[in-house]
Protein backbone atom coordinates (compact mmCIF):
# COMPACT_ATOMS: atom_id res chain seq x y z
CA UNK A 1 0.00 0.00 0.00
CA UNK A 2 2.71 2.42 1.04
CA UNK A 3 4.60 1.74 -2.17
CA UNK A 4 1.50 2.43 -4.14
CA UNK A 5 0.98 5.76 -2.41
CA UNK A 6 4.61 6.67 -2.83
CA UNK A 7 4.26 6.00 -6.51
CA UNK A 8 0.96 7.86 -6.62
CA UNK A 9 2.56 10.81 -8.35
CA UNK A 10 3.50 8.61 -11.25
CA UNK A 11 0.14 6.97 -11.42
CA UNK A 12 -1.00 8.65 -14.58
CA UNK A 13 2.33 8.14 -16.16
CA UNK A 14 2.19 4.43 -15.25
CA UNK A 15 -1.41 3.93 -16.15
CA UNK A 16 -0.88 3.32 -19.85
CA UNK A 17 2.03 0.89 -19.48
CA UNK A 18 0.34 -1.12 -16.70
CA UNK A 19 -2.65 -1.70 -18.95
CA UNK A 20 -0.24 -2.75 -21.63
CA UNK A 21 1.51 -5.08 -19.17
CA UNK A 22 -1.83 -6.60 -18.22
CA UNK A 23 -2.74 -7.10 -21.86
CA UNK A 24 0.63 -8.71 -22.63
CA UNK A 25 0.42 -11.01 -19.63
CA UNK A 26 -3.14 -11.91 -20.55
CA UNK A 27 -1.97 -12.76 -24.04
CA UNK A 28 0.90 -14.82 -22.62
CA UNK A 29 -1.43 -16.76 -20.36
CA UNK A 30 -3.77 -17.35 -23.26
CA UNK A 31 -0.89 -18.50 -25.44
CA UNK A 32 0.45 -20.85 -22.75
CA UNK A 33 -2.95 -22.42 -22.18
CA UNK A 34 -3.58 -22.78 -25.89
CA UNK A 35 -0.18 -24.30 -26.57
CA UNK A 36 -0.52 -26.73 -23.68
CA UNK A 37 -3.96 -27.70 -24.94
CA UNK A 38 -2.67 -28.23 -28.45
CA UNK A 39 0.32 -30.27 -27.30
CA UNK A 40 -1.87 -32.44 -25.11
CA UNK A 41 -4.31 -32.96 -27.96
CA UNK A 42 -1.47 -34.65 -29.85
CA UNK A 43 -2.09 -32.55 -32.94
CA UNK A 44 1.60 -31.88 -33.32
CA UNK A 45 1.90 -33.00 -36.92
CA UNK A 46 0.41 -29.78 -38.28
CA UNK A 47 3.08 -27.49 -36.82
CA UNK A 48 6.03 -29.69 -37.68
CA UNK A 49 8.60 -28.41 -40.12
CA UNK A 50 8.54 -29.71 -43.69
CA UNK A 51 11.97 -31.35 -43.20
CA UNK A 52 10.76 -33.25 -40.18
CA UNK A 53 7.62 -34.23 -42.02
CA UNK A 54 9.71 -35.47 -44.95
CA UNK A 55 11.80 -37.57 -42.58
CA UNK A 56 8.63 -38.90 -40.97
CA UNK A 57 7.12 -39.66 -44.36
CA UNK A 58 10.30 -41.37 -45.47
CA UNK A 59 10.28 -43.55 -42.38
CA UNK A 60 6.64 -44.43 -42.91
CA UNK A 61 7.26 -45.31 -46.55
CA UNK A 62 10.18 -47.53 -45.64
CA UNK A 63 8.02 -49.22 -43.04
CA UNK A 64 5.24 -49.65 -45.57
CA UNK A 65 7.65 -51.21 -48.05
CA UNK A 66 8.94 -53.57 -45.38
CA UNK A 67 5.40 -54.53 -44.42
CA UNK A 68 4.47 -55.07 -48.07
CA UNK A 69 7.47 -57.36 -48.48
CA UNK A 70 6.33 -59.20 -45.39
CA UNK A 71 2.83 -59.56 -46.83
CA UNK A 72 4.22 -60.91 -50.11
CA UNK A 73 6.40 -63.40 -48.24
CA UNK A 74 3.49 -64.49 -46.08
CA UNK A 75 1.25 -64.90 -49.12
CA UNK A 76 3.88 -66.96 -50.92
CA UNK A 77 4.25 -69.14 -47.85
CA UNK A 78 0.48 -69.47 -47.67
CA UNK A 79 0.12 -70.59 -51.28
CA UNK A 80 3.07 -72.97 -50.84
CA UNK A 81 1.50 -74.48 -47.76
CA UNK A 82 -1.87 -74.63 -49.48
CA UNK A 83 -0.39 -76.51 -52.45
CA UNK A 84 1.38 -78.99 -50.20
CA UNK A 85 -1.81 -79.19 -48.15
CA UNK A 86 -3.72 -80.15 -51.31
CA UNK A 87 -1.33 -82.99 -52.15
CA UNK A 88 -1.36 -84.06 -48.51
CA UNK A 89 -5.16 -84.01 -48.55
CA UNK A 90 -5.18 -86.11 -51.74
CA UNK A 91 -2.81 -88.64 -50.19
CA UNK A 92 -4.94 -88.64 -47.06
CA UNK A 93 -8.15 -89.24 -49.06
CA UNK A 94 -6.49 -92.10 -50.96
CA UNK A 95 -5.25 -93.61 -47.71
CA UNK A 96 -8.71 -93.22 -46.21
CA UNK A 97 -10.26 -94.97 -49.20
CA UNK A 98 -7.88 -97.90 -48.89
CA UNK A 99 -8.42 -98.01 -45.13
CA UNK A 100 -12.19 -98.17 -45.70
CA UNK A 101 -11.83 -100.98 -48.22
CA UNK A 102 -9.53 -102.91 -45.90
CA UNK A 103 -11.85 -102.31 -42.95
CA UNK A 104 -14.76 -103.86 -44.85
CA UNK A 105 -12.54 -106.76 -45.83
CA UNK A 106 -11.28 -107.26 -42.28
CA UNK A 107 -14.77 -106.85 -40.85
CA UNK A 108 -13.98 -104.00 -38.47
CA UNK A 109 -16.74 -101.71 -39.80
CA UNK A 110 -20.41 -102.38 -40.59
CA UNK A 111 -21.21 -102.76 -44.27
CA UNK A 112 -24.38 -102.33 -46.31
CA UNK A 113 -25.28 -102.98 -49.91
CA UNK A 114 -27.22 -105.30 -52.20
CA UNK A 115 -26.92 -108.96 -51.39
CA UNK A 116 -28.55 -112.12 -50.13
CA UNK A 117 -30.32 -113.08 -46.97
CA UNK A 118 -30.04 -116.82 -46.61
CA UNK A 119 -31.90 -118.79 -43.99
CA UNK A 120 -30.67 -122.27 -43.22
CA UNK A 121 -33.09 -124.38 -41.19
CA UNK A 122 -31.59 -127.63 -39.91
CA UNK A 123 -34.14 -129.43 -37.74
CA UNK A 124 -32.29 -132.77 -37.87
CA UNK A 125 -28.89 -131.34 -37.00
CA UNK A 126 -27.34 -132.78 -40.12
CA UNK A 127 -25.34 -129.82 -41.39
CA UNK A 128 -21.59 -130.31 -41.06
CA UNK A 129 -18.93 -127.60 -40.69
CA UNK A 130 -17.75 -128.46 -44.20
CA UNK A 131 -21.19 -127.61 -45.60
CA UNK A 132 -21.12 -124.11 -44.15
CA UNK A 133 -17.52 -123.73 -45.25
CA UNK A 134 -18.68 -124.67 -48.74
CA UNK A 135 -21.40 -122.04 -48.51
CA UNK A 136 -18.91 -119.34 -47.57
CA UNK A 137 -16.53 -120.49 -50.29
CA UNK A 138 -19.27 -120.41 -52.91
CA UNK A 139 -20.34 -116.95 -51.83
CA UNK A 140 -16.77 -115.71 -51.99
CA UNK A 141 -16.25 -117.31 -55.36
CA UNK A 142 -19.37 -115.48 -56.53
CA UNK A 143 -17.88 -112.17 -55.41
CA UNK A 144 -19.29 -111.66 -51.92
CA UNK A 145 -17.56 -108.75 -50.24
CA UNK A 146 -18.91 -109.03 -46.70
CA UNK A 147 -20.39 -112.10 -45.08
CA UNK A 148 -22.03 -112.62 -41.73
CA UNK A 149 -22.94 -116.12 -40.53
CA UNK A 150 -25.33 -116.03 -37.59
CA UNK A 151 -23.89 -113.46 -35.18
CA UNK A 152 -20.35 -113.73 -36.53
CA UNK A 153 -18.73 -111.61 -39.23
CA UNK A 154 -16.64 -113.76 -41.52
CA UNK A 155 -13.11 -112.43 -41.77
CA UNK A 156 -9.83 -113.46 -43.29
CA UNK A 157 -9.00 -115.63 -40.28
CA UNK A 158 -12.42 -117.22 -39.75
CA UNK A 159 -12.62 -120.94 -39.25
CA UNK A 160 -15.50 -123.41 -38.92
CA UNK A 161 -15.04 -125.93 -36.16
CA UNK A 162 -17.23 -128.25 -34.16
CA UNK A 163 -19.05 -131.30 -35.45
CA UNK A 164 -22.08 -132.13 -37.50
CA UNK A 165 -25.15 -130.53 -35.95
CA UNK A 166 -23.08 -128.32 -33.64
CA UNK A 167 -21.06 -126.18 -35.95
CA UNK A 168 -19.01 -123.42 -34.46
CA UNK A 169 -17.62 -120.38 -36.21
CA UNK A 170 -14.68 -118.67 -34.52
CA UNK A 171 -15.67 -120.29 -31.26
CA UNK A 172 -19.36 -119.34 -31.14
CA UNK A 173 -21.93 -122.07 -31.70
CA UNK A 174 -24.30 -121.55 -34.61
CA UNK A 175 -27.91 -122.42 -33.90
CA UNK A 176 -30.81 -123.25 -36.15
CA UNK A 177 -32.37 -121.50 -37.98
CA UNK A 178 -29.18 -119.82 -39.15
CA UNK A 179 -29.19 -116.55 -41.06
CA UNK A 180 -26.37 -115.86 -43.45
CA UNK A 181 -25.99 -112.34 -44.85
CA UNK A 182 -23.80 -111.70 -47.87
CA UNK A 183 -23.14 -108.45 -49.72
CA UNK A 184 -22.39 -108.84 -53.39
CA UNK A 185 -24.17 -109.30 -56.70
CA UNK A 186 -27.43 -111.05 -55.63
CA UNK A 187 -28.19 -113.08 -58.82
CA UNK A 188 -24.60 -114.32 -59.13
CA UNK A 189 -24.43 -115.43 -55.53
CA UNK A 190 -27.89 -117.03 -55.65
CA UNK A 191 -26.88 -118.96 -58.75
CA UNK A 192 -23.65 -120.10 -57.08
CA UNK A 193 -25.58 -121.49 -54.12
CA UNK A 194 -28.21 -123.15 -56.31
CA UNK A 195 -25.95 -125.11 -58.67
CA UNK A 196 -26.71 -128.86 -58.71
CA UNK A 197 -24.66 -130.60 -56.05
CA UNK A 198 -24.02 -127.25 -54.40
CA UNK A 199 -24.81 -125.87 -50.99
CA UNK A 200 -28.59 -125.99 -51.27
CA UNK A 201 -28.53 -129.59 -52.47
CA UNK A 202 -26.15 -130.66 -49.72
CA UNK A 203 -28.19 -129.09 -46.94
CA UNK A 204 -31.44 -130.55 -48.28
CA UNK A 205 -29.84 -133.97 -48.42
CA UNK A 206 -28.90 -133.52 -44.75
CA UNK A 207 -32.58 -132.86 -43.99
CA UNK A 208 -32.53 -129.09 -43.82
CA UNK A 209 -33.92 -126.30 -45.98
CA UNK A 210 -32.28 -123.26 -47.45
CA UNK A 211 -34.23 -120.13 -48.26
CA UNK A 212 -32.48 -117.55 -50.41
CA UNK A 213 -33.90 -114.04 -50.62
CA UNK A 214 -32.35 -111.38 -52.82
CA UNK A 215 -32.30 -108.01 -51.14
CA UNK A 216 -31.58 -104.51 -52.46
CA UNK A 217 -29.96 -103.65 -49.19
CA UNK A 218 -28.40 -105.98 -46.67
CA UNK A 219 -26.88 -104.69 -43.46
CA UNK A 220 -23.89 -106.61 -42.14
CA UNK A 221 -23.55 -105.24 -38.66
CA UNK A 222 -21.45 -107.82 -36.81
CA UNK A 223 -17.89 -106.71 -36.28
CA UNK A 224 -14.54 -108.37 -35.78
CA UNK A 225 -11.80 -107.03 -33.58
CA UNK A 226 -8.45 -106.51 -35.20
CA UNK A 227 -5.99 -109.16 -34.14
CA UNK A 228 -2.42 -108.02 -33.85
CA UNK A 229 -0.24 -110.59 -35.59
CA UNK A 230 1.83 -112.42 -33.07
CA UNK A 231 4.28 -114.10 -35.41
CA UNK A 232 3.85 -112.65 -38.84
CA UNK A 233 5.72 -109.42 -39.58
CA UNK A 234 5.69 -107.40 -42.76
CA UNK A 235 8.76 -108.38 -44.75
CA UNK A 236 10.45 -106.93 -47.74
Amino acid sequence: MSTKQALGAHRYARHGPSVLIAVLCLALGLAIATQVRRTNAGDTLTDQRPQDLVVLLDGLQQREAALRREIADAEAALSRLRASGDSTAAALAEAQRRADALAVLAGTVPAAGPGLEIEVVDPQRGVAPADLLDAVQELRAAGAEAIQVGPVRVGVDSAFTGSTGAVRLDGSTLGSPLTVLAIGDPPTMAAALNIPGGVVDTVERAGGTVQIRERDRVHVTALRTIRTPQYARPAG
Binding site: P17, S18, A22, C25, G29, L30, A31, I32
Partner: protein
Protein backbone atom coordinates in the same frame (compact mmCIF):
# COMPACT_ATOMS: atom_id res chain seq x y z
CA UNK B 1 0.86 -7.82 -9.34
CA UNK B 2 -1.61 -6.84 -12.01
CA UNK B 3 0.57 -8.75 -14.46
CA UNK B 4 0.35 -12.01 -12.49
CA UNK B 5 -3.41 -11.63 -12.12
CA UNK B 6 -3.70 -10.99 -15.85
CA UNK B 7 -1.51 -14.05 -16.52
CA UNK B 8 -3.75 -16.31 -14.44
CA UNK B 9 -6.83 -14.79 -16.05
CA UNK B 10 -5.31 -15.45 -19.46
CA UNK B 11 -4.63 -19.11 -18.59
CA UNK B 12 -8.20 -19.56 -17.38
CA UNK B 13 -9.53 -17.79 -20.45
CA UNK B 14 -7.41 -19.99 -22.72
CA UNK B 15 -8.63 -23.15 -21.00
CA UNK B 16 -12.21 -21.95 -21.15
CA UNK B 17 -12.33 -20.58 -24.69
CA UNK B 18 -9.92 -23.09 -26.25
CA UNK B 19 -9.10 -20.77 -29.16
CA UNK B 20 -7.87 -22.21 -32.45
CA UNK B 21 -4.43 -21.06 -33.50
CA UNK B 22 -4.04 -19.81 -37.10
CA UNK B 23 -1.83 -22.10 -39.14
CA UNK B 24 0.84 -19.46 -39.83
CA UNK B 25 1.27 -18.77 -36.11
CA UNK B 26 1.53 -22.41 -35.07
CA UNK B 27 5.29 -22.93 -35.57
CA UNK B 28 6.09 -19.70 -33.67
CA UNK B 29 3.73 -20.00 -30.76
CA UNK B 30 5.87 -22.30 -28.55
CA UNK B 31 9.01 -20.20 -29.07
CA UNK B 32 7.07 -16.96 -28.55
CA UNK B 33 5.68 -18.34 -25.29
CA UNK B 34 9.16 -19.20 -24.03
CA UNK B 35 10.49 -15.77 -25.07
CA UNK B 36 7.61 -14.01 -23.30
CA UNK B 37 8.23 -16.11 -20.19
CA UNK B 38 11.82 -14.93 -20.29
CA UNK B 39 10.61 -11.31 -20.38
CA UNK B 40 8.19 -11.94 -17.52
CA UNK B 41 10.90 -13.47 -15.32
CA UNK B 42 13.21 -10.62 -16.20
CA UNK B 43 10.51 -8.15 -15.22
CA UNK B 44 9.87 -9.98 -11.97
CA UNK B 45 13.55 -9.89 -11.14
CA UNK B 46 13.77 -6.19 -11.99
CA UNK B 47 10.81 -5.49 -9.78
CA UNK B 48 12.47 -7.28 -6.87
CA UNK B 49 15.71 -5.41 -7.59
CA UNK B 50 13.69 -2.20 -7.48
CA UNK B 51 14.63 -1.21 -11.01
CA UNK B 52 11.40 -2.25 -12.73
CA UNK B 53 10.44 -0.01 -15.60
CA UNK B 54 7.12 -0.58 -17.32
CA UNK B 55 8.38 0.71 -20.63
CA UNK B 56 11.43 -1.52 -20.55
CA UNK B 57 9.22 -4.49 -19.69
CA UNK B 58 6.80 -3.85 -22.52
CA UNK B 59 9.54 -3.28 -25.05
CA UNK B 60 11.55 -6.30 -23.93
CA UNK B 61 8.44 -8.46 -23.94
CA UNK B 62 7.44 -7.48 -27.46
CA UNK B 63 10.95 -7.51 -28.86
CA UNK B 64 11.67 -10.91 -27.26
CA UNK B 65 8.60 -12.41 -28.89
CA UNK B 66 9.29 -10.80 -32.25
CA UNK B 67 12.98 -11.71 -32.29
CA UNK B 68 12.25 -15.31 -31.26
CA UNK B 69 9.64 -15.62 -34.01
CA UNK B 70 12.01 -14.03 -36.53
CA UNK B 71 14.81 -16.42 -35.58
CA UNK B 72 12.51 -19.37 -36.06
CA UNK B 73 11.29 -17.94 -39.37
CA UNK B 74 14.86 -17.37 -40.52
CA UNK B 75 15.82 -20.87 -39.41
CA UNK B 76 12.91 -22.34 -41.37
CA UNK B 77 13.96 -20.39 -44.46
CA UNK B 78 17.58 -21.51 -44.08
CA UNK B 79 16.59 -25.13 -43.46
CA UNK B 80 17.91 -25.21 -39.89
CA UNK B 81 14.60 -24.40 -38.22
CA UNK B 82 14.66 -27.28 -35.78
CA UNK B 83 18.22 -26.56 -34.67
CA UNK B 84 17.64 -22.81 -34.32
CA UNK B 85 14.45 -23.43 -32.34
CA UNK B 86 16.46 -25.62 -30.02
CA UNK B 87 19.13 -22.94 -29.72
CA UNK B 88 16.55 -20.27 -28.88
CA UNK B 89 14.90 -22.49 -26.29
CA UNK B 90 18.27 -23.31 -24.71
CA UNK B 91 19.36 -19.67 -24.51
CA UNK B 92 16.01 -18.50 -23.17
CA UNK B 93 15.95 -21.40 -20.75
CA UNK B 94 19.34 -20.39 -19.36
CA UNK B 95 18.16 -16.82 -18.96
CA UNK B 96 14.96 -17.94 -17.25
CA UNK B 97 17.03 -20.07 -14.88
CA UNK B 98 19.40 -17.25 -13.99
CA UNK B 99 16.48 -14.87 -13.47
CA UNK B 100 14.73 -17.46 -11.34
CA UNK B 101 17.92 -17.85 -9.31
CA UNK B 102 18.06 -14.07 -8.72
CA UNK B 103 14.38 -14.03 -7.73
CA UNK B 104 15.02 -16.93 -5.38
CA UNK B 105 17.90 -15.05 -3.74
CA UNK B 106 15.63 -12.08 -3.22
CA UNK B 107 12.72 -14.06 -1.83
CA UNK B 108 14.56 -16.53 0.35
CA UNK B 109 17.87 -14.70 0.82
CA UNK B 110 19.64 -17.86 -0.24
Amino acid sequence: MIGILALLLGVLLGLWLDPTVPAWVQPYLPIAVVAALDAVFGGLRARLDGIFDAKVFVVSFVSNVVVAALIVLLGDELGVGAQLSTAVVVVLGIRIFSNAAAIRRHLFRA
